[in-house]
């Protein structure tokens, strides 16, 4: 409104969508800068697709504003928004050839047959599908269909490309290949991509902005590495995977370190941030699984940032070994480099002490309310 915005800037202001009495999206504020690759990440039903569809103009917000390139877009049809959407099913028109599918947008605009076919052929050449131009969609493989869908979207010359779970219909090999292609396409075009996914590695590999969602709200919007290394909430930590979430009560703080004690009596230390928590208040933190060291119990007593437990399972993962430790109420996972593990292997039933460095402790802004109702508590990655 006041600032000069780039054509592919997306700004969502107090965006809300209700279906009946329930909120699909609740009061979302988000700015996606022009030219970024943004992934909306969350489990199914978290509202990520609804946000995408509202940006695209296929769903009308209950309240709130959607600005693209500084222009308020609510109520405008998709073509006026400068967006193009790629559907999860690709939605290629089954009765039209590949060429006519790609030329559809031009046909709707009244472009003559020769001109639109010529432009569609150019676009198909760009996605290397020109040899298939006379085929029907049913004759194409999943990866080819996806490229046709991309070509059909890109011919509209969009400022924003919206992708709804674009890789979910592909097999593992194609998914990785298309993932790379999407990333380089975005680099090449320099337009904004908004990509909805429920797969964490996909988001981390593609996005320079990851938005983690939970039941209609944004939990955290940051760069991929911050989301992965410094999750703000227990939910984000668990959803992104690779983290252990622990909770303790603040005992006090000195020399820039907060001291916590949990219900089992274990002592934790964390670097104090800007605020000093009051003694007696609960606090949660996360530690990456691959920053954990394990030793057999009996070799020294548990000190600060050490916790004792019993090995519940070990799982060989190639480059590392995933060791699940039962803390006596609560599960803790250590991903040990295979070399370290095999130097002193532990097995099911062994008593162990897990330890980590204070620097690896990431304080969460919300106190973990525990396992109840959280399906990601024991999600293994």
């Amino acid at each position: 409104m006041n600032s000069i915005e780039n054509p592919g800037d997306i700004r969502l202001v107090n965006l809300t969508k209700k279906f009946g009495a329930s909120y699909a999206v609740e009061n979302i504020n988000l700015t996606i800068p022009h030219g970024s690759y943004c992934c909306l990440l969350g489990p199914s039903g978290c509202g990520k697709t609804t946000i995408l569809r509202m940006i695209a103009g296929h769903e009308t917000p209950t309240s709130g504003e959607i600005h693209i390139g500084g222009e308020m877009m609510v109520g405008k049809p998709p073509v006026e928004r400068g967006t193009a959407m790629m559907f999860q099913s690709y939605a290629l028109f089954p009765h039209l050839s590949i060429l006519d599918n790609v030329a559809f947008y031009l046909k709707m605009r009244g472009v003559g047959k020769d001109e639109r076919r010529q432009k569609a052929e150019e676009m198909l050449r760009r996605v290397q599908l020109i040899s298939l131009k006379d085929r029907m969609p049913a004759q194409l493989s999943g990866g080819q269909q996806q490229r046709v869908a991309l070509a059909r979207s890109l011919i509209t010359n969009p400022k924003v490309l919206l992708l709804d779970e674009p890789l979910s219909a592909l097999d593992e090999f194609l998914r990785l290949k298309m993932r790379g292609e999407l990333k380089s396409l975005q680099n090449e075009l320099g337009i904004t991509f908004v990509h909805v996914t429920h797969t964490q590695p996909e988001a981390i590999a593609l996005a320079n902005m990851v938005v983690v969602m939970d039941t209609g709200r944004i939990d955290q919007a940051d760069t991929a590495s911050i989301i992965f290394n410094r999750p703000k909430t227990p939910y984000v930590a668990r959803f992104m995977g690779g983290q252990n979430v622990l909770t303790g009560t603040v005992e006090g703080s000195k020399a820039g370190r907060i001291r916590l004690k949990d219900a089992r009596g274990a002592i934790f230390e964390a670097a104090a941030g800007d605020s000093t928590p009051a003694p007696g208040s609960p606090m949660s933190f996360a530690v990456r699984r691959d920053r954990i060291k394990l030793r057999k119990s009996g070799k020294g007593k548990a000190a600060a940032n050490e916790i004792a437990g019993v090995v519940e399972a070990t799982e060989y993962q190639g480059s590392y070994v995933k060791v699940t430790v039962d803390l006596g109420g609560g599960v803790f996972v250590a991903n040990l480099p295979d070399g370290d593990y095999f130097a002193d292997p532990v097995d099911k039933g062994d008593g162990v002490i897990a330890s980590w460095n204070t620097a690896d402790v990431n304080i969460l802004t919300i106190v973990d309310t525990g396992a109840a109702g959280d399906p990601y508590v024991n999600a293994g990655h």
């Binding site: 296929h58 939605a91 029907m136």
Partner: protein, 277 residues
């Protein structure tokens, strides 16, 4: 395919079911074949087997009537009536199908009301239509009262087919068209109708055949001039010549042509879409 994978003899249930199916086929096609064969009966005019001196005599009798009723006239009413029912069934079923896609208030009630006319006995409906037309002071005719009562029969079928077809239509096709700048009308014309066209042919086929051979709903509603099924019925009571069989053969052949045309056009469209040209 499956048989090559099984080992040992077939179970006895196979033979029981095969015998049942054979009986079914005999009952289905036996009478039709008997009528077909006997329509070529010679001048002996025998209504029963055996076939003596095969000829086309009774087909000639049909089109140049001396003794039989007004077959050509009845056909000239039945065919346009069936075509009208077909066109209206397609138009109404398709547009109603679109309306029902986005659930509106009272849609369920309207749907059940439409379907309920399937269980109303045709003869009762025929009487009711006649009585109503009399009360309103309107003459009953094949193009008015009979058209209405035929639609009460063909429309529910058309609606059910269209609901099934549109129910399977992925809404993202319409959204994709909208996304690519198509107006509502362009979306219907360029995307939805071409995609559901095979279903529309099926609706047309039902509309045509249900009307073309409809007896109970025609009985009192056609007015003074008969449609073909009524004419055949009249003939069974007062014509005692193989011309009856010839008529049966001709009408069956017409139905058959309509069905083959409809099904093969569906097959052609689907083959084109899967790319096997």
């Amino acid at each position: 395919m499956a048989a090559s994978q099984s080992y040992g003899p077939r179970p006895w249930t196979f033979y029981v079911l095969a015998a049942l199916f054979a009986l079914f086929v005999v009952f289905l096609y036996g009478p039709m074949i008997a009528v077909l064969v006997l329509s070529f009966q010679g001048p002996s005019a025998s209504l029963v087997f055996p076939l003596r001196e095969p000829s086309l005599l009774w087909f000639d009798e049909l089109f140049n009537p001396r003794r039989v009723g007004d077959v050509v006239g009845a056909f000239n009413r039945s065919l346009p009536l069936a075509v009208m029912v077909m066109v209206l069934t397609v138009l109404i079923s398709v547009t109603a199908g679109f309306a029902f896609r986005r659930r509106f208030k009272g849609s369920t009630a309207i749907f059940y009301m439409a379907i309920a006319s399937l269980i109303v006995p045709g003869l009762v409906l025929s009487i009711g239509t006649l009585v109503t037309f009399r009360y309103l002071g309107l003459p009953a005719a094949w193009y008015s009262s009979a058209l209405g009562s035929h639609l009460s029969w063909a429309l529910p079928f058309g609606l059910l087919i269209m609901f099934a077809v549109l129910g399977r239509l992925d809404p993202s096709y319409e959204e994709a068209a909208h996304d690519l700048g198509a107006t509502k009308w362009q979306t219907v014309k360029e995307v939805v109708v071409p995609i559901v066209f095979p279903g529309m042919i099926a609706v047309a086929l039902f509309g045509f055949t249900l009307s073309y051979d409809e007896f109970p709903r025609s009985w009192l509603t056609v007015g003074s001039k008969n449609t073909l099924p009524l004419e055949i019925w009249t003939m069974t009571t007062n014509v005692t010549s193989p011309a009856l069989y010839a008529l049966g053969t001709v009408t069956t052949v017409i139905s058959f042509i309509v069905i083959v045309a409809a099904l093969s056009s569906i097959a052609v469209i689907q083959r084109k879409r899967s790319g096997r040209t």
